[in-house]
Symmetry: C2
């Protein structure tokens, strides 16, 4: 196995995965079931089908089927922007002077600018197949909303996006991309839903939050005929769709006989990380191989490193099922000076369980050093990374520098989830030396956690 490794490893169309991998099937300790908020009993497919498409509700609750066929229509869409390249970061290695080999899986080569499209197209497909008129969703920074807009345009589905008000106003360009793809974008909290009106009344002048936008989108879905709600992260179905990232990564590494030593991903709700590590965690669970899996989260929203592993609400309005996860409490909102995404209070139940069982380790990093890593990466590798992705870059560089000290030629793989073209306000802050860090106090986290429901 001494083939020369190209800058970018592209799989051929016939090497592309034809099935998603459901890591839950190989987990002895399954993620705890999600609970109906009214009964506190595990939700059934029937109950979930009121919110999600039936097929997606099934995927959400299926923790035994290891491989699920990717429908041909989805594989055709994937061809438009996949395979995503696995890039050997030759220039970064040289710049750092490290003997480590650094690889990154780049998911930013599509107009939504991130990996979110992988699940958006799957969810839109099942909605279309079920004969629905449209879907509703929330979006924060806008990556997910953009991805869903693209997917819905492709399948000619109506797309209604509740966009956190502060982003709607401060990120007009993301909004316009969604509109160009035909989506209807509403700033949240709005006056178009009960929960929106209630929140606006209770907190006049609020600029919104992700949890609040989720509640509005769910209400909009359940109060219109022919609509369902879709979500871009946290859910088990999303991790299933995002396993395409890890499967392609593994196929590309295998193609050149490369054994990864560690796999690093940024973690907000867990969609990218969960998808990236899935097949590797599967090998670990089956006792076939060992890897160091690292979740990187912002110090300002540290659900894994400082949260608690309990049942919690997934949204502010408490209309969604409860999930057992590492959480900071559903009322937790990162400091206003937090620039990037990764601002969700909880974490995918699958990632949470794997972390709880010691298969994943977690690190938190502060944003100034994240942007410093982003700038360093951009200058030598060309790509201007999203702030979210740059969390993984930061830890990959740290690990590569450790290798420099020890002289080890480790294979470091990280997920570069997307590009930062719509995050230039944050870059400007960094360029102007105006970026600051904020770490929540223990008291703040305790207070927020006190709002968790009493289950268990």
């Amino acid at each position: 196995m001494s083939k020369e490794i190209p800058y970018k490893i592209y799989l051929e169309e016939n090497e592309m995965p034809k099935q998603w991998y459901n890591v839950r099937a190989d987990m002895k300790n399954k993620p705890a079931p999600i609970l109906n908020p009214a009964t506190l009993k595990p939700v059934t497919v029937d109950e979930l089908s009121g919110i999600f498409c039936t097929e997606l509700a099934k995927q959400e609750l299926d923790d035994t089927t290891a491989y699920i066929d990717i429908p041909e229509e989805i594989r055709n869409f994937y061809k438009m922007y996949r395979p995503a390249p696995l890039v050997r970061a030759y220039c970064l290695e040289k710049k750092l002077g490290t003997p480590a080999h650094i690889y990154y899986k780049f998911e930013g080569n599509n107009t939504s600018g991130s990996h979110k499209l992988n699940s958006a197209i799957a969810q839109a497909y099942y909605a279309k197949k079920q004969g629905l008129r449209g879907v509703t969703t929330e979006t924060g920074a806008g990556q997910w909303g953009t991805a869903l807009s693209m997917a819905c345009a492709y399948f000619d589905l109506d797309c209604q996006v509740y966009m956190v008000k502060v982003s709607y106003e401060q990120k007009p360009f993301r909004r316009e991309v969604m509109r160009t793809y035909g989506a209807k974008v509403t700033p949240s909290p709005s006056m178009t839903t009960d929960v929106g009106r209630r929140i606006n009344e209770e907190f006049p002048g609020t600029t919104g939050s992700l949890g609040c936008a989720i509640s509005e989108a769910v209400e909009a879905a359940t109060s219109q005929d022919g609509y369902r709600y879709v979500l871009g992260s946290v859910l088990s179905q999303v991790l299933l769709h995002q396993s395409i990232i890890g499967l392609e990564t593994k196929a590309a590494l295998d193609k050149y006989g490369i054994k990864a030593d560690m796999i690093i991903g940024c973690a907000g709700g867990g969609s990218n990380l969960g998808g990236l590590i899935s097949p590797f965690a599967g090998e670990m669970l089956r006792g076939e191989a060992d890897y160091k899996l690292i979740a990187v989260e912002p110090a300002s929203c540290p659900s894994l490193t400082r949260g608690r592993y309990v049942y919690d609400y997934c949204d502010t309005g408490k209309v969604c099922p409860l999930s057992k996860m590492y959480t900071l409490g559903s009322g937790f909102i990162p400091s206003a000076n937090h620039a990037g995404g990764l601002r969700y209070h909880g974490m995918s139940s699958t990632v949470s369980q794997l972390y709880h069982d010691g298969l994943i380790e977690a690190r938190s990093v502060e944003q100034t050093e994240v942007f410093k890593a982003a700038e360093q990466f951009a200058k030598v590798e060309g790509i201007l990374p999203a702030p979210e992705s740059s969390h993984a870059i930061k830890v990959a560089i740290d690990e590569a520098l450790k290798c420099k000290e020890t002289g080890e030629a480790k294979n470091i793989v990280f997920g570069l989830t997307g590009t930062g073209y719509f995050d230039m306000v944050a870059y400007q802050k960094y360029n102007d030396g105006l970026m600051s860090d904020y770490i929540p106090t223990d008291e703040e986290i305790e207070k927020s956690l006190s709002g968790c429901p009493k289950v268990d």
Copy 2:
């Protein structure tokens, strides 16, 4: 030759071109020589070397060498974002219901968002090799400035960008990308150059123009030790570097035994169009094949379709060599409602000569229909195109619809030069139904042309 054609044709690293192609070598009617503005005599390499790096000055004047080796350092950088895929627009074909096969060469998969990087890295390389400290340039919308900033960061060269003031103020994000890559960005006209001060005095409150920014950048280069000026379009050296687009396109087509019937490119200064068509025009010039080559320009800046083929100034300050080209006069500025790029008053001398000799045909299109084509393309092909690129999309769609009428399965190839992520203000205007068209009157063009120098 019945290999199934994938969505995206990627060349392997060993299939990548190792030489640029200089179409001038195969032209019987060479482009007219550029003239020293002081003597009105053809410039020499020595004279040009005061403005450009010596190697680039040689390339600028070399109209006999057909193939020029691409230095290894440049080929290594190309690997970071090349090969650019040649995409079969299966979804667009289906949407249009056309029997035509549509292919586009997508140059937007890099942070500068366009093909400009192909020449930026070459010019930065030669500057570095000559031992220079840095380079100066101008930028309008910012694609070229961004590309040059990336290239200079890679080679650790100082980069000074004069950005047309109206763009500097209205496109702060492009500016921040450049700053992130370490460039110094100055709004033009500035008070840092003689020509800038003169223009500011003569036209108080002016928001600048490309021609004016060029003059400032040239002055900045020639008044600092160890600096040279670089330019992203129009020049023959730029077309040489951009021939990589056409060479890769041709290699990808050949790989699958596809014979293009027509090749369509948007045309501002001619860098993309010239690069894309070079090898195809070469075959035509050598009598080996025939193609329909189409240049598409905005109706608001119609240098080929309504300009005059004469010697003209390349910049407002009249400090650059004169070039014989299709021009609207160096004082021509497109209407303020013109959204996209492609706003240069002239056209590459090579493209001009090929057009004059009937090898290229030209069409002008209005911007509302361009954005309509862009939206249609985005919805089915996923990629949100740059307004510039969308000019080519518009004509490709027109041609595909003609095939639908005639039932011909023509192979239509067009250049998708870049993405529109930094053009959302224009898209917003379109989405809101506020976009309008403007076509200059004959009188306006005549008036502007009257400022051309009396040469010939």
